[in-house]
Symmetry: C2
Subunit: 229 residues, 2 copies
Amino acid sequence: MRWKHLNETSMINLAEENYLKTIFNLSGNGKENVSTSAISDFMENKPSSVTDMLKKLSDKSLINYKRYNGAYLTPAGKDEALKVIRKHRLWELFLVKHLAFSWHEVHEIAEQLEHVKSELLIDRLDKFLGYPSSDPHGDPIPGIDGKYRLINNKTLGELAEGERCVLTGVKNSSSEFLKYLNEINISLNTRIRVLKKYAFDGSVLIKINEKHRQTVSREVSKNLLITPI
Amino acid sequence: MRWKHLNETSMINLAEENYLKTIFNLSGNGKENVSTSAISDFMENKPSSVTDMLKKLSDKSLINYKRYNGAYLTPAGKDEALKVIRKHRLWELFLVKHLAFSWHEVHEIAEQLEHVKSELLIDRLDKFLGYPSSDPHGDPIPGIDGKYRLINNKTLGELAEGERCVLTGVKNSSSEFLKYLNEINISLNTRIRVLKKYAFDGSVLIKINEKHRQTVSREVSKNLLITPI
DNA sequence: TATAAAATTTAGGCTTATCTAAATTTAAAA
DNA sequence: TTTTAAATTTAGATAAGCCTAAATTTTATA
């Protein structure tokens, strides 16, 4: 195949970048296996589409994929995912700091900006922003070297309306709590969107996997460890 | 067709935007007919591909297209083209003013940024830049209203190395000059890229239609009216 | 104006990323 | 452990945007 405007970056395209990013996020930033259905669910693509792409990414050595057994990122794949996340967070920060966007408005725009190809651009943006190590949320911005400070210390309760995250852990791991989570369809790597926060009692209306609406108490929201995405 | 993340903007996609922008530029910012081959040549796509897209854009009422006879923009198409150009120039200005890019480096990046969908984003960027009316080149930035100050007062000689333009007119229209231009394959709407400028005599090495290299004298370069693109 | 050359369109293919429906494999339940 | 349900994959289809090769139309030339 020929590329008309060949980029300095490898030949990873938009769709592939989105899959890599998703796998990174759903695996809790790491190397856990991510299932086809988790990806399908998150990206709102059909499982069969996901399977196709997993094969493709596997052929490119960006993921390790075993049929019927999900996938995880190779070092090369993780590098690419982190590059995209770095871009995403830098752009978000730019939008908030310099273009007066509020935090919940920026995600969709950054989702587009993160795919602009230019190493130089992103390095200049990094400089312009003063080499930030974290975005306004406190989430780490991967460095040029791909170094990434892992964190798992944010709770659902700290998110603002409109924000999205993936569950990466629980503070309280009593079986009653876990059972409750199970009942309302929340498990590790479940993605959650905050729809509304009620000031009077701190309860939170959330959407689980973009499917089920659910209200959880302040107590619950404080015990859910998450990674914003 | 269904759009997953439906944008506030109409349903014009990247490829379509590029065609509209190209037609706008090649028609001398206006309503002159642009031929299939001119578009094909400019975009480095095959003529048959162009025909396909012209049909599509015609169906969407963005251009007026008559078989074997080229196309020109409808008001709706012109609006869209101007929106893209507005975004392109605002981003270019941002890159130059705030990210320390030099002018010739920004085109390719702006080419990507111009397709990011968000009215709000571009209005905020406009504000951030202080509502500029022209880019560092002096080329007009269309306003939100789509108003566009037409200019045709720049010459090839004023471009820097690496910059591209389309010929929109000549200062000297003597037949010898026109004949000379003809001989070296330059005509109205021909696109020209400046490859090198020689300081000692002001001559300019150019690439014509991305095909022919040619050196022209300072005299010639000062008599070619162009629109940077 | 007839004919050759150039421009344009049509017809038919290819690739990518999707999808649906059916088959297969794995996991859960009885 | 058999059976059922869920997850996953395969097979085959579609739409976009591009391509090549062949047909058609327009333009230029003799």
